[in-house]
Symmetry: C2
Subunit: 218 residues, 2 copies
Amino acid sequence: MIEELEKVKDSILIKGIKTQELSSMLGCLRCVIKKYDKGETVISEGDKINKFGLLIEGKLQVVQYDYLGNKSVVSVIEPKQIFGEAFAYVDKISSLDVEAIEKSKVLFLDSDKLSTPCENCCTFHKQLVKNLLYTISNKNVNLTQKIECMSQRTTKEKLLTFLSLESIKNNSKEFTISLDRQALADYLGVERSAMSAELSKLRNDGIIECEKNWFKLL
Amino acid sequence: MIEELEKVKDSILIKGIKTQELSSMLGCLRCVIKKYDKGETVISEGDKINKFGLLIEGKLQVVQYDYLGNKSVVSVIEPKQIFGEAFAYVDKISSLDVEAIEKSKVLFLDSDKLSTPCENCCTFHKQLVKNLLYTISNKNVNLTQKIECMSQRTTKEKLLTFLSLESIKNNSKEFTISLDRQALADYLGVERSAMSAELSKLRNDGIIECEKNWFKLL
DNA sequence: AAAAGTATGTTGGAAATCCAACAAGTTTTT
DNA sequence: AAAAACTTGTTGGATTTCCAACATACTTTT
């Protein structure tokens, strides 16, 4: 089990915890590792969650079904990322599914054990809580920024809001983004082709320069 | 200071902490209370945040300015609610403003002190961390649901997604919501009048019944 | 009880988005 | 190196949303 943990020791959740503390952590937080084949379900909608996951290897997908039963992908989980923590701490049943899209290994941690330090108040506990607060807060900031973009009325405004936030993040008028056109359109909640057209217009109007994933605000 | 705390002792953050523990908490977390007149700024965009706030009395507004300088209200803070915690824990500068829209009293707590229990590991610390994790996770779930609604392409789908989520929350096909039409339109990111028209259509098509804040899914 | 203010529904033309289809360029596979 | 698969940009008509203006109902103030 320790060998598996080594693979993710620089993940945001475990970062800063000494190697010699890892094994006491495993016991203290009732850690278990589970393996999933491609296509298997990791968390089902309706599950009561009291553990959250840290993906060690493979790839997962968070999906959701709307009122008509249409499936949509909410996010993709890569190794070293955590998932399910929000539902674990609000103590609600999950409204999302998590599925393995590759053969995967997941470390589950007991959410209650993590937030309630044991009597001897192990030092790694403090660090874990800090890391977890950081991670969830960070997700909140990102969700808020996505909402900021999506709240704009026109595609042009959505694009400019997104690009301006990216520019701030990169502290420069020039930057590259990690999304391709389709992913960006999905992120902003608009049609890819309409967005492409709008990008061209922004370019022709001399407001931006761009090529592939590279952008420059003028 | 203790008297002020009494007013918010059933807030989600402080809930479950014994009265006799409150005073040691005040010291341990370097609490300070600040007062603001109507119109005063509580947090400025660009501020480095290492404390977060618990509103004791009054009313605050979280606002943001887009790339053109247009102001928009992100949320309204009522007494007993906390604010600024996301920026405090990601250790980034705030990208939002918080302003008092009524004469207000705010309790500030040191975010670092809260997440790093002191040597004696006071019991209230554990409870605070739990409460904080609950609060942030809950915001996370709410933001995700808002995004789920806003991601829908048409106003009709946005409405039905929202209503279906409310129905699940209330565990019933019939329920009342806390938003008026304008607030609902803002929440979904659409035009009020267009949304009203869409609601009428849903009613005529026999998909829902509604009157004011009361809704029934058929 | 009248007046003013607020919330909601309705409507029609202007504007924006969606959608489907295709062209051109790029990357990956064979 | 050719073929296949994928990505991006373009276009035009159908659909949807926005916007502004107004009617009606309900609430609050005077």
